[in-house]
Symmetry: C2
Subunit: 334 residues, 2 copies
C-alpha cells in the first residue's frame, strides 16, 4: 500500500477496500459488523439518545491529544452530560488526498483507544477522500448512540435559587493548548489540552444520588456561553465569581498576553453541573476522586428564577453581565 | 444576518446560535428536540441498525438533486438495503467560510424535504465552519438509525444456484449526470441523477413475501464492484449479461465518448437484489409499480456456490471476469 492516501482510496474500489481493511477495521476490531459502514446493535432499553458532531481541529495533533481523541471525547461527553449512557459511536472520515498514512493510523489508533477507555464501541464508519486542499488534512464526524437512564437522573425542572454551579476542573486549557500548538503567536507553554471522555466520572456523580439539575460541557464558546445558554433555557439568574474560577497559571498568563478571556475559551474535558446546595460536597468529593476532576470547584450559584441572565462578580466585588461569545474568538478549536 | 457564512458562525457563540436557529431548526421543524445537537428517540424494538456516510459531491447542485438530497438518499438506502426500516437521521455540516447562505438554505430545505418524503426524521445536527478553501463549499455527514425487521426478511444464507440478479433501473445515471454538471468534458446532456430514497419501494418488495437473499445499493464503484463484493462475501459465482443491462442512451453515448464502463459508474437511486428464481416476476412487478423502479430488469443469475467471482457475458457470447474498481474512476461522486 502507498504511504499516502490517494484519491483512488475514496472511490469505492479495490484501494478503498484496502484502506478500510488495513487502517480502520484492524484498529476497531469490529467483531460484530460484517461491513465497516453499518451495524446492528442491541439495546436493552427502547429509549435511546443520539448526538452528532464534526471535528475540524487545527492542528490535528496537539499536546494532550489529537483529532481522533477529541472526536471520541466530544461526542461521548455530549451524551453523558445529557444524562445518557454512551454505548456506540460511528466515525466518518473526510481525508485530504496526500494525507500521510502513518498519521492516519495514529489518529485512528487514538480514536480506538479512547473509545475503548470510555467503554463505547465503534460500530460503523465511512471514508471519503477529497482533492488536495479540500479538507485541511482530515475531518472526522462522530455520531454517538446511548441509552437514556431509566430514572430521571437529571431534573432541570427542579433548578432553584441557592443551587450551586460546579465546574469539574480548570478553565481554558484546550483553547490555549491549541493556540500554542499552532505556533503562530509565539506562545511557549507545556500546557496540555484537557480533552478526555468524562462519562465514567459523570456516572459516579449520578450514582451518588446527588440532586443534579443540569450538566453541560463548556466546549466552543467556553464557560460563559454555556452558562448563558443554561440561564436562558431555564430562566435562571446565575452568578459566578471570578476569584472562584480554577485557572492554570499558564492559561491566565497566555490570556493576559493575548487579550483573551478564559471564560470564552474552549474546554474538551470539563463538565459544568448545577446541583442542589445540600449535595455540593458530595458532588465535589466524587469529582475530585478522578484525575480529570481533581481541580473541581464551586464557581457560583443560582440567585433566582425568572429572568435568565449570567453575572460575573469581579475580584473588586462589582458585577457585570456576561453574554454569549459574539464575533470570532478561535476558529477550528475542536 | 449576513448573506454569507462567516468563520464566526462556527465558534459556538451568538452567530452560531443564529445560523442554527434560522437555517436548520426552522427547516427541520424538529419539535421534540430542545437542542439541535442531540435527541432522545423512542424505538419499539430493541434491535437497531446504524450506518454513517459523509457526502463530498462536486458540484453541490446537479441535475436531479443536490448534496442535501443525496445525503438523505445515500444513508436511507444503506439502511434499507440491509433490511432495516430507516427512522432517524443525524446531519453534520462542514461549511466553508464565505458559503452563500441562500445556497445553504436550498440544500437544507432539500435535505428536509427528502427526509420527510422518505419518512425519516432529522433528530440531531451539527455545524462547523472552516476557513476559505477548507471544505470546497460544503460537506455533509448523515448517520442513519433504524430498526431491524422483526423477521428474517433477508436471508443471504439461502443464496443458491439459479437465483436471479435484479437491478431496479438504469445503470450509471448519477455518474454521468455529475460528470456533465462539472462541465469539464464538454458533455451536453439532459440526463438527471437517479438520486432518491428507495425505502418505500424496498418495503413493498419485502412485504410481498418474495425470497430476497441479499440487497445492495451500487453507489461508489458501481454495479460491478457491488456484485464482486456480494460474490466474495458469500462465495457466489455470479454471471450477468451485458445485453440485459438497462442503460439509457445518453449514458451509453457518454461512456462511448469518454471511455467509461457503465458497470463502474455510481448510482444513487438503484438497488441490486438477489432473489429466488420463483419470485422473480413478483419482485419485478413490485419494483415496476414505482417510478424509481420502472426500468427494473433481471440482469443475471447465480451460477453456483463456492468460489466467489463475477462474470460478464458479452454480446458476442464470450465471458470475462470483472473485478472491483481499481485505480480511480470519478472522484467526489457522492
Amino acid at each position: 500500500m502507498e504511504r499516502k492516501v490517494t484519491l483512488a482510496c475514496g472511490d469505492g474500489g479495490e484501494l478503498a477496500h484496502k484502506l478500510i481493511q488495513q487502517v480502520f477495521v484492524s484498529a476497531f476490531q469490529n467483531q460484530d459488523a460484517s461491513r465497516f459502514d453499518s451495524a446492528f446493535l442491541s439495546l436493552e432499553s427502547g429509549k435511546i439518545a443520539v448526538t452528532t458532531d464534526s471535528f475540524v481541529v487545527n492542528p490535528l495533533f496537539f499536546p494532550g491529544g489529537n483529532i481522533g481523541k477529541i472526536a471520541v471525547a466530544g461526542t461521548v461527553n455530549d451524551l453523558s452530560v445529557a444524562g445518557s449512557i454512551p454505548l456506540y459511536l460511528t466515525a466518518g472520515f473526510i481525508i485530504e488526498e496526500g494525507f500521510p498514512l502513518e498519521d492516519l493510523r495514529k489518529i485512528v489508533r487514538s480514536l480506538a483507544e479512547e473509545a475503548s477507555a470510555a467503554g463505547v464501541r465503534i460500530v460503523a464508519g465511512d471514508t471519503k477522500v477529497v482533492e488536495k486542499g479540500g479538507a485541511d488534512g482530515l475531518y472526522i464526524n462522530t455520531t454517538g448512540i446511548g441509552v437514556q437512564r431509566a430514572e430521571h437522573a437529571i431534573r432541570p425542572g427542579e433548578m432553584q435559587e441557592g443551587d450551586d454551579v460546579i465546574i469539574s476542573g480548570t478553565v481554558g486549557d484546550h483553547g490555549i493548548a491549541i493556540l500554542a500548538a499552532r505556533g503562530e503567536l509565539g506562545l511557549m507553554t507545556d500546557l496540555q489540552s484537557d480533552c478526555t471522555p468524562l462519562n465514567h466520572m459523570i456516572d459516579k456523580v449520578l450514582e451518588s444520588g446527588a440532586h443534579v439539575r443540569m450538566m453541560r460541557d463548556p466546549t466552543r464558546g467556553g464557560v460563559a456561553t454555556t452558562l448563558v445558554e443554561i440561564a436562558e433555557d431555564f430562566g435562571a439568574a446565575i452568578e459566578i465569581s471570578e476569584t472562584a474560577l480554577p485557572i492554570r497559571n499558564e492559561v491566565m498568563g497566555a490570556c493576559d498576553i493575548l487579550g483573551f478571556d478564559p471564560l470564552y475559551l474552549a474546554n474538551e474535558g470539563k463538565v459544568i453541573l448545577i446541583v442542589a446546595r445540600n449535595d455540593r460536597q458530595r458532588v465535589l468529593d466524587v469529582l475530585r476522586a478522578f484525575p480529570e476532576g481533581r481541580n473541581a470547584a464551586v464557581i457560583g450559584h443560582i440567585t433566582g428564577m425568572g429572568e435568565g441572565r449570567l453575572l460575573l462578580e469581579t475580584p473588586l466585588g462589582s458585577r457585570r453581565r456576561l453574554r454569549r461569545l459574539s464575533g470570532m474568538m478561535l476558529p477550528r478549536i475542536c
